[in-house]
Symmetry: C2
DNA sequence: GTCTATACCCGGATAGAC
DNA sequence: GTCTATCCGGGTATAGAC
């Protein structure tokens, strides 16, 4: 039952390499500075061939962004399955840690910012918006639970928490710290998880934190390295 | 002693209106999407006239960014003068509050992270870099003091704290919250100051904080200034 | 479906009259 | 110094052969 014939499969592979090229360029240059010529060169084909698969530059970028959301949704599902008993706060920390790792590996395009014509076209893209809503609802459930059980500050609007999580996924601080080259990657990630949940202020003393302070155990180990 | 003749003064006024137009466009569209034609239209003159004052689009943007840094440096100096006895942490909170307020008023261009050709040219601009270093040294002194007296988490590298302050000045979360229109501006600002210094985690109970929790007392006074 | 070559437009920068 | 008109590179998208 070769429901997916050979031709179809090589086509999918080719499109996948295109999307990966787009993702790399979105990360390094951003949408506006990314040119279709570069995408074609990176994907190893002529520009006109790209337009046989995707009808416009916007659609090209949308495919890459959708892929990012799919990865995030899959990871959230994985966390649900792996540790169903974990606290909501702990799950959210894991999500942030994962997004930072993806960003460290150079695979997380920075989407927000009001500008960049990409955002406008993404809002009109149903496939993208449906996934964004799905992801937001999953995270929203954890946020509500964590605010109810004291894992997160219940005085903050849930939307503010959600936006903060999205913003930290593309936080430029990580790139700046990595550029300095003074610290190992894992250490940087744990610091950013820590500042996201506990801020830059004095760390709480005497078990005021609902869970282990982010990076407490991992930190000591990594600092030595 | 009219060391500044009349001609010179109208020239300065004209250039100042240009820089303001650039700043507005940098905020709304960002450097790459901002066109020189738009700047000319906004400033109320022909495009060619712009090039009599500034030799390139990059220089145009640099002038606006330098102006932003000058405002920040001036505000830091003001804080020094107004409250020389305040704790370093309190001063840093005031700085963040000010940057958020400027962003709220639509006058804070988002310093793009790695991408955007603007950053490359800014790094090569001495006037910009000198001011950036000056500002960073002022903030760095407060950061060191706050980490020494327990106002800030001493386990974080000072550079991480500094980068975080810069990043929060352009935090997209503020724009998202404002766009929702559900909350008053002052409330949004205080929430963001709070998440910057204390994170989104459970607020400390029973005076674990070194200063008043962001947004309680310091708010009224400093926001007015 | 992939290529080469090209149409077309937009935006930065300039020429030259006043 | 300000204007109108123009140049010209570069970027998206397409035509048409194979």
């Amino acid at each position: 039952m070769p429901a997916i014939p050979y031709r179809e499969r090589v086509l999918r592979l080719r499109e996948d390499s295109i999307v990966q090229a787009v993702n790399r360029l979105l990360v390094t240059k951003g949408y506006d500075l990314m040119t279709v010529d570069e995408v074609a060169a990176e994907a190893g084909m002529a520009k006109a061939s790209l337009y046989k698969h995707f009808t416009s530059k916007e659609e090209l970028a949308a495919a890459a962004m959708i892929r990012v959301l799919d990865r995030a949704i899959a990871h959230v599902a994985l966390l649900h399955a792996q540790a169903p008993q974990a606290t909501a706060r702990c799950q959210l920390e894991a999500v942030v840690r994962w997004t930072l790792k993806v960003q460290l590996e150079g695979e997380m395009p920075s989407l927000p910012a009001e500008n960049s014509r990409l955002t406008a076209s993404l809002r009109a893209n149903r496939e993208y918006m449906n996934r964004l809503i799905e992801l937001s609802e999953s995270l929203g459930a954890w946020i509500a639970a964590a605010q109810a059980d004291g894992g997160l500050d219940a005085g903050l609007p849930p939307e503010l928490v959600l936006y903060t999580l999205y913003a930290r996924a593309c936080d430029p601080v990580l790139a700046m710290m990595k550029a300095s080259g003074q610290h190992p990657d894992e250490q940087i990630v744990e610091w950013l998880v820590s500042t996201t949940f506990s801020g830059i202020g004095r760390p709480a003393v005497g078990g005021a934190k609902p869970t282990t302070r982010a990076g407490s155990t991992a930190k000591a180990k990594v600092v030595a390295g």
